[in-house]
């Protein structure tokens, strides 16, 4: 019995409309990663996390539950869940990630921020005011909810005098750089991925891998945003040996992540295929640069010798 995908899309878009995120998290879960880093509360340039790293552990947990419901008669309860979720944040109870996983994702954000600071890049952070961009709802095609939210995010940036953002993942970068301007009149914001920023300054990696690695290019970075050579250069400058792969760069293949919440079994099947491709030349260390790719490939490589790392883990 396939999932009632209309209820899942409805629940996630209701959340964005009512609670400004697909899976609303506590302020502490959103900003906890920045504790003790003393990042200024404002500035013309801010590090804009877009909540993707913070959300990933919850999305993973939700994916597990949806995966269990996928072939179960219980999946009918999702309609009821959507009904109650409009009144009380039901999704909070079904997206309870492990602390260990949250800490790991937070650490990656800390690594990015600390590397930017060490390299002399100046930036602020909007802490609890920062919002998710609505990427998933845009992809699902719920345009009226997405457009209203995009205006909300842009207004927040304007109200805080932000003219330039440094993003940490491809989905947020795509939204703020390419998609928002299609829906917001006179949109003006400079958007750079931290990989583009770090590629322009001198950096020193603290954890250089002791083996060859293979890159998993994100579809959005590679085909949509032209973030292709920057991550390679960052690693190669530090002496890391990156093995060649046919299905990479503009021809990179997807990790399966985008359909995780609607078709979990298919998503895992695609991730496993991608891990096999990346392992074609026997390479045991895969480098990713997106929290969704990271989670999906790690999940697919479980119980194998293959390790999947976020590029920020070398910082």
């Amino acid at each position: 019995m396939s999932l009632p995908i209309n209820h899942i899309i409805g629940l996630l878009s209701d959340n964005l409309k009512l609670r400004k995120s697909v899976l609303p998290l506590s302020k502490n879960s959103i900003t906890g990663w920045a504790k003790g880093l003393n990042i200024p509360k404002n500035g013309n340039t801010v590090l804009y996390t877009g909540h993707m790293y913070q959300l990933m552990p919850s999305i993973a947990f939700l994916g597990k539950i949806i995966g269990m419901l996928e072939n179960s008669a219980l999946n009918k309860t999702l309609g009821l869940g959507r009904f109650f979720n409009k009144i009380i944040n039901v999704s909070m109870f079904i997206t309870w990630p492990s602390r260990k996983m949250r800490n790991l994702y937070d650490k990656r954000l800390r690594n990015i921020a600390e590397m930017l600071t060490r390299s002399g890049v100046e930036y602020g952070y909007l802490y609890g005011k920062e919002m998710y961009t609505g990427a998933l709802i845009y992809d699902m095609g719920v345009d009226d909810v997405f457009i209203k939210h995009a205006h909300r995010v842009y207004q927040l940036l304007k109200d805080n005098g932000v003219t330039s953002v440094i993003t940490v993942d491809p989905h947020t970068t795509e939204m703020l750089r390419d998609i928002y301007p299609k829906f917001i009149k006179d949109y003006k914001l400079e958007v750079k991925s931290y990989l583009e920023v770090l590629n322009e300054v001198d950096i020193k990696l603290n954890n250089i891998p002791d083996k060859d690695v293979v890159m998993h290019d994100s579809c959005i970075y590679a085909r949509g945003l032209d973030v292709l050579n920057q991550p390679v250069k960052i690693l190669e400058k530090a002496g890391v040996n990156i093995l060649d792969l046919n299905d990479s760069k503009k021809l990179t293949q997807c990790c399966g992540g985008p359909i995780e919440s609607l078709f979990p079994a298919k998503s895992v099947e695609i991730a496993k295929k991608r891990v096999d491709q990346l392992n074609k030349n026997g390479c045991k260390e895969i480098v990713s640069m997106c929290p969704i790719c990271l989670f999906n490939l790690q999940h697919a490589a479980e119980n194998t010798e293959i390790q999947v790392k976020d590029i920020s883990e070398y910082f």
Partner: protein, 100 residues
């Protein structure tokens, strides 16, 4: 027998990017799509161009299986905005069928 409705595309989207009728039916996209569904993406676009509303209804979930990965777009000889068209189709399904 399915009913054709060539005017259907007009009510579907007014977005400039929406160009399923630029497709020459070469099949490259379906050949390389990682999802491996028979209909994705070539036939799904065709249904919109021909106005085959019953087929769209029948295959509504297939439109949501697309990863929006753009591997097909990268290789399409006539620059069909395939993934953007799929997203537009989702919007139609959400509004007209799912009532979201």
């Amino acid at each position: 027998m399915s009913k054709l409705n060539p005017d259907f595309i007009l009510e579907f989207s007014t977005d400039e990017e929406f160009n399923p009728n630029a497709c020459i039916n070469c099949g490259t996209c379906s050949g390389l799509c990682p999802i491996g569904l028979d209909a994705l993406p070539r036939k799904l676009s065709r249904y919109i161009v021909l106005g085959l509303e019953d087929k769209i209804l029948e295959e509504k979930e297939s439109y949501f299986q697309c990863l929006l990965c753009k591997l097909c777009v990268e290789n399409c000889p006539t620059q069909v905005n395939i993934s953007s068209n799929v997203r537009t189709a989702r919007n139609y399904i959400n509004r007209k069928i799912y009532k979201i």
